[in-house]
Amino acid sequence: MDITEVPVSRDSAGKSKKNKKQKKKKSAEGAVEGKETEEKKTEKKMEKMEASFPPTFSVSEIKNKQRRHLMFMKLKQEKRKQKMQLKKKKKKEREALGDKAPPKEVPKTIENQRVYDETTVDPEDEEVAFDEGTDEFSAYFNGLTNPKVLITTSDRPRGRTMRFCEQLATVIPNSHVYYRRGLPLKRIIPQCVSRNFTYLMVINEDRQTPNGLVLCHLPDGPTAHFKVSSVRLRKEMKRRGKDPTEHSPEVILNNFSTRLGHTIGRLFAALFPQDPQFVGRQVATFHNQRDFIFFRFHRYIFKNEKRVGIQELGPRFTLKLRSLQKGTFDSKFGEYEWVLKRHEMDACRRKFQL
């Protein structure tokens, strides 16, 4: 007898998994999810039937709901028992072998299973090195320019956003907060350029919290638009230290591996002055994990050469890149180097862009 495959919808499969955990073995009233889901679940495991059932028998063929339910639960229990036995056996073998046991398997994580991105930067790649030597940040990295940052907001900022701006200004040395009086960005940018600003940072606000960040490198550099989330201001943070001092912090950039990631990393690096003052013992971290960039600001102290203590000061927030545009801010006619396209890029769980 052939077994027909019933198309499984994801929702019902998910729901049935949840419901099964709540069910008890012999409760007839527990079968709320209906016979459909059970059918689908059992048909998935068609190939893994036990010897106790005749080979062509499937649980879904029992017409009586209660009995079908019972048989299904029995099936699940059998499977679980087998799994436990297998585990125990493996553990015994491992103990028996002792040193010669094969090494423990590394559990699969999303980072392990990440789809290889062909734009991943090789450290020795000459082309990348050449590009980076001649791109818009080369002036900064060659020590020619000093960063000068202008921080502003969208129209009519509310208290939280203004406080966030002020705290950012203490974190980034040589930065100024200006009130945006409804001026269009295209008019602000030439003024900034004429006053030797290197960066323009616009914090967009929605419902009294910051939710967007536009970071524009000024002498026609790239413009990056980020989504800001989980903003914690200084007074909301537990166990924080005193306010940061005026020393320039060090910068840590973690996990920026692809070409795009490199560009963004350099974008962040150029915010801070080239020579950090180690006396201040402050460090600003931009850590990229699964396309989320976490920003933290710490003060560190070396207890001995193997241990370091860090204490968080300063605001913390997470960024997610939405778009990267080649010139300065121009949403209409700008040339976009990269735009987040949700349907293409978020389709695969293991594929990341940065």
Binding site: T109, I110, E111, G182, P184, S229, S230, E250, I252, N254, F278, V279, V283, T285, H287, Q289, R290, D291, F292, F294, R296, H298, Y300, F302, K303, N304, E305, K306, V308, I310, T318, K320, R342
Partner: protein, 300 residues
């Protein structure tokens, strides 16, 4: 026949008018042809046979006049005249079209026309300024992203990553001479390298000491004492920073330090030199009370 008064009597006061909006202080009229927007005897478009309004459509203003002879055909009752875009010319047009009409209607028409042109001008100005773009948020997407962010945060293990990075930077020496640790790392590395030759060196040193003490007794002793005390100082500073594990190693290394060049040893000892000098003097005062020895000490 249109009996205005009768109509007003009915809809205005006694019975229902579907266009009337009642509020606590005032009555408004929702009829689109109403000239003032209030529900009055003189403003009601239903209760006045001679009536005119100004309406605008897509930026164009029209003068609408009610032709009561066509009251039987309500769709054709209103006549419209397109007004010119020039404000003064349009006012003249209104005047000439409503030439013998009651003062009230003429006046109100012009007022309404003025208001309309003003708001049209403002609309045109706003379009030139910055437009606010409203981007719709999809709840599902937002909650998904939030979840992903939480998981990413857990996977990131930020504190560990930061600490690791800082320690690596320390090892690589980006911090230069600020911290005293590099000395110990250096010593430890050296100790690991020279572990094989340690025993030999010790024997040699003993031989040298034995040999040299006969000739240059004091200086040799001083130097060894010096190095001893420098190491002691190092030990002291290290204990300040809670490193007792290296004390034993320090003691082992004392003999090695003699063999090594002073330069290498003094690299990390520069901060401790001050204390070493102090220690030297203390030692001298206690043990060597003869002046010539002290003087030579001071000069060296």
């Amino acid at each position: 026949m249109q009996h205005d008064d009768v109509i007003w009597d009915i809809i205005g006061n006694k019975q229902f008018c579907s266009f009337k909006v009642k509020t606590k202080s005032q009555n408004f009229c929702r009829n689109e042809f109403n000239i003032t927007g209030l529900c009055n005897r003189s403003s009601c478009p239903l209760a006045n046979s001679q009536y005119a309004t100004i309406r605008e459509e897509k930026g164009q203003c029209f003068l609408y006049m009610k032709v009561i002879e066509r009251a039987a055909f309500p769709a054709k009752m209103w006549e419209k005249v397109k007004l010119s875009k020039n404000y003064e010319k349009a006012l003249e047009q209104i005047d000439e079209n409503l030439i013998y009409w009651p003062r009230f209607i003429r006046h109100k028409c012009k007022q309404r026309f003025t208001k309309i042109t003003q708001y049209l001008i403002r609309m045109r100005k706003l379009v030139l300024k910055r437009q606010r773009k409203l981007v719709p948020l999809s709840r599902k997407v937002e909650s998904r992203e939030k979840r992903k962010e939480e998981k990413a945060l857990i996977a990131a293990q930020l504190d560990n990553a930061i600490e690791k990075e800082l320690l690596e930077r320390l090892k690589q020496g980006t911090y230069g001479d600020i911290y005293n640790f590099p000395v110990h790392a250096f010593d430890r590395a050296l100790e690991q390298q020279d572990q094989e030759s340690e025993s030999e060196e010790e024997e040699e040193e003993d031989d040298e000491d034995v040999g040299q003490r006969e000739f240059v007794a004091e200086e040799e002793v001083e130097e060894s004492d010096l190095s001893d005390f420098e190491d002691m100082n190092k030990l002291k500073t290290s204990s300040d920073e809670e490193e007792e594990e290296t004390d034993e190693e320090e003691e082992e290394e004392e003999e090695e330090m003699e063999v090594q060049t002073k330069a290498s040893g003094s690299k990390g000892k520069s901060p401790a030199n001050g204390s070493a000098v102090r220690k030297k003097r203390a030692y001298v005062e206690i043990e060597y009370e003869t002046e010539p020895v002290a003087k030579s000490r001071a000069t060296s």
